[in-house]
């Protein structure tokens, strides 16, 4: 079975077997952009389940390795350049490696991913891994990229020098990873390699002193505690009651000998890397000649790059509106058909009302927006996979700096236009805590896809179809753009404020790798898009469905006989026809329902915004998730329109809604705008708040976020309504 691409080195067999535990744990560790995710998918056959460990905010995907005897669990750990942890992502890698993640066994084998086109920097991390006391198998990726750049890597020599197996893979061809899986299985039965690198004597000496005092530490851990001042290893050590005074003494000792332990370790490791690579890599072309560089000559060019970025953003936003249209119409049409079919079968009454006004109106009203979410994630996944997203960060870094942020915040903030939940999770890659918190707090101001339903509904219903310049400039598109800008223009001063108050301090850096361009992979992109869609549908299917039913129930009950009698009395007085009676009865039922009473209670507060109690009810009901307002308005107006017109489009219902006292239309343009501005700025999303809680570790920040955003949203909506009333 040994393939030609397998370079094995002699490995000592192990007598004391780790085979006693049933599941072997394998960790996948490597630099970012080395093909780690692709390799994980190839090894597990795309079977991943994401776990979120207690006390750890970073999600780790797990899955069994295919094609080997021993049951295994492969952990996909975040990409990192070093085991000296600073960001939460890096922290998780170190903890998982040490077996310090709750409920997660210490890995039995580490698969170290090494990018053949960038061996030097990749071998730095490998050097640390070899010292960590785990059996290591090297997966050599990007061999085609290396070859195209004129780099010839002698894998056999490399394996000999490293003393661990080196397996060349191209994870884009899943069958090519079989030898790797086999090597991993073999590695389960070998002892870990001895430490790779001989550190300078003063460093070894102080490490030994710390080990004498704390024999429970692994040598690599002891070294890390000394070298990594105020870093994660030291904090963990002190948290466990480690001897902090001794560590300080040892550091002073080193300083007295003029040794900078951190720099000394790095230099020693790179010296090792140079020795290992001597004669292993042959270079037949000068660097900087690949097609990736030629693309960059345009895409990061001052003029060309800027134009491309702007054009790209324009294409993304156009696609969101014009490509999604037909799909949305199709979904709407199907739902209407289902609704019709059901109303033919079910008798009038509570069940039919629940199904039509609760279930179909609720979930259906959200499903309609799935196309836009999928399209946005399609773009983000492609741009990320091909390496452009880092370039975008490079181009805009200077713009983000006045906010105290870096180009790195651009990526989470951009994804926040799709959904703040993954975006906030994506801030983990920001090492600087202050920058990360600011990004988390302003991310929910970006107009996410859940706000789209509100915009689309109100714009469709109320913004007149005016167009100029032969259809190139349209009023509805401009209003939509304005809604996106509202969030951004509030986020900027907020970020500035946070940077100069709560999170003041020295500016964080911007050291970001610009990975070489890759052709995006259909399967990877498809997986990302599928997961995003699934997340949204599950959210729509659970939170939103529950919310729809609760809201339907609040709007349906108590349905008292007294209400009916009162309407009957009016019918006799006004001589209403049967259908007029039905409409008025439905309206009265809603007014007297629990939901109606709640809305009326808050009406004095929202009257200045031009809203009546029905809009208030919609806003209240959308606390779980913004998109719920569409379902709620659907329920409210469908109920009010009478049960004969269940499937009447919501837009029409909104156009027809009027103030009961004066008969003036309820939704004027200023009211619609104030409602949209409110939704652009408010924090009506339980998922976002829960994620903020998880990522910041306290309830303080979600509370600040909710309170602050609601206040800002109210004031802004008030301004819009008042200015609008004066102008119109």
């Amino acid at each position: 079975m040994p393939a030609s691409n397998q370079f094995t080195a002699a490995a000592a067999p192990i007598t004391e077997a780790s085979t006693t535990r049933e599941h072997a744990t394998i960790a996948l560790i490597g630099n970012p952009n080395t093909g780690k995710t692709t390799l994980f998918n190839a090894l597990t056959g795309f079977r991943r389940h994401v776990a979120n460990y207690p006390g750890v905010t970073v999600e780790i995907a797990r899955g069994p390795i295919r094609g080997i005897q021993r049951p295994t669990e492969l952990l996909d750990l975040p990409g990192t350049y070093s085991l000296a942890a600073h960001s939460p992502d890096e922290t998780v890698v170190c903890d998982a490696l040490r077996g310090r993640v709750p409920d997660q066994a210490r890995p039995d084998v580490v698969i170290a991913i090494v990018d053949a086109s960038n061996l030097k920097r990749n071998l730095y991390l490998l050097c640390q891994l070899l010292d960590s006391g785990h059996p290591v198998v090297v997966a050599l990726t990007m061999n085609d990229v290396a070859a195209a750049r004129g780099l010839r890597v002698d894998g056999k020599k490399l394996a000999q020098r490293l003393g661990v197996p080196v397996i060349a893979v191209d994870a884009r061809q899943p069958q090519s990873v079989a030898p790797l899986a086999q090597a991993v299985e073999d590695a389960l039965n070998v002892v870990p390699p001895p430490a790779a690198v001989e550190l300078p004597q003063p460093l070894t000496a102080v490490t030994q002193q710390l080990l004498d005092r704390h024999p429970e530490l692994h040598r690599s851990e002891a070294l890390r505690i000394i070298t990594d001042q105020a870093g994660h290893a030291e904090q963990l050590f002190l948290g466990r009651g480690g001897d902090g005074a001794l560590v300080n003494t040892l550091r002073v000792e080193l300083a007295a000998q003029n040794v900078d332990p951190t720099a000394a370790e790095i230099r020693a490791r790179y010296a090792w890397v140079d020795r290992v690579l001597g004669g292993v890599v042959e270079r037949t072309l000068p660097p900087g000649n690949s097609w990736s560089h030629r693309i960059d000559a345009i895409l990061t060019h001052r003029v060309g790059g800027t134009i491309f970025l702007l054009a790209l953003l324009y294409v993304v936003f156009t696609a969101l509106y014009s490509w999604a249209g037909p799909l949305m119409d199709g979904i709407e049409w199907s739902l209407a058909a289902v609704g019709d079919a059901i109303s033919d079968v079910l008798p009038t009454g509570i069940i039919r009302s629940l199904v039509l006004d609760g279930l179909i109106a609720g979930v259906g009203g959200v499903l309609v927006f799935l196309p836009q979410i999928l399209i946005l994630f399609l773009f983000i996944a492609i741009l990320e996979d091909c390496g452009y997203l880092a370039r975008a960060a490079f181009l805009v870094d200077r713009l983000m700096r006045p906010l105290g942020l870096s180009g790195r915040a651009f990526i989470p903030l951009l994804s926040s236009f799709a959904c703040a939940v993954p975006a906030i999770m994506g801030t983990r890659a920001i090492a600087d805590r202050r920058e990360r918190f600011i990004t988390i707090l302003i991310a929910p101001f970006m107009s996410c896809s859940a706000r789209l339903p509100v915009y689309v509904l109100l714009i469709g219903a109320l913004v007149p179809p005016v167009a100029w310049l032969g259809g190139w400039a349209r009023l509805d598109a401009l209003v939509m753009l304005a809604m996106y800008l509202v969030g951004v223009s509030v986020a900027i001063p907020i970020a500035w404020l946070l940077r100069h108050t709560t999170f003041s301090g020295p500016a964080s850096g911007f050291v970001l790798e610009l990975p070489s361009y890759k052709l995006p992979r259909l399967r990877t992109v498809g997986q990302r898009v599928y997961m995003a869609g699934k997340d949204f549908v599950i959210r729509a299917g659970s939170i939103i469905l529950i919310a729809s039913i609760v809201i339907w129930a609040l709007g349906y009950f108590p349905r008292s006989a007294a209400t009916q009698r009162a309407v009957q009395a009016q019918q006799q007085k006004h001589n209403w026809s049967d259908s007029e009676f039905e409409t008025h009865l439905a309206s009265a039922y809603l007014r007297d329902s629990y939901l109606g009473r709640l809305g009326q209670t808050i009406e004095p507060a929202i009257r200045p915004l031009g809203w009546d109690w029905r809009i208030g009810v919609g806003v209240l009901a959308s606390f779980p998730a913004r998109e719920v307002i569409v379902a709620t308005l659907g329920t409210i107006f469908n109920l009010e329109a009478g049960s004969e017109e269940d499937t009447a489009p919501l837009e029409q219902a909104i156009q027809e809604a009027a103030w009961p006292d004066t008969g003036r239309p309820l939704f004027t343009l200023p009211v619609a705008l104030s409602l949209m501005v409110f939704f652009a700025l408010c924090a009506q999303c339980v998922s976002t708040l829960a994620v903020i809680r998880r990522e910041t570790g306290t309830w303080l920040w979600p509370l600040v976020s909710f309170g602050g955003m609601t206040a800002i949203a109210y004031v802004a909506a008030l301004l819009v309504a008042q200015v609008g009333a004066v102008l119109s």
């Binding site: 870094d397 850096g509 911007f510």
Partner: protein
């Protein structure tokens, strides 16, 4: 001479990274270390950050970070 002051496309050799800044260590870990060959490829549209080649890969660095890197022309 600091890397930030080097002309575009000029091959340089790192002679040291000014210590004391945590970023300095991060740069060293990423291969910006004595003897490494570096080159400023271009600047972002607003003049900052810089796109820098370090050995076999590329980094985005701010002017202030490039200032930490001492180089000599190769």
């Amino acid at each position: 001479m600091s890397l930030a002051g080097m002309p575009l496309s000029k091959n340089c050799r790192v002679t040291g990274v000014r210590p004391g800044n945590p970023l300095a260590y991060r740069l060293m870990e990423m291969g910006v270390i004595e003897g490494a060959v570096v080159q400023v490829l271009r600047r972002a549209p607003l003049g900052d950050p810089l796109q820098v080649r370090v050995g076999d890969y590329e980094l985005s660095l701010r002017q202030s970070e490039a200032d930490l890197i001492e180089v000599v022309a190769d």
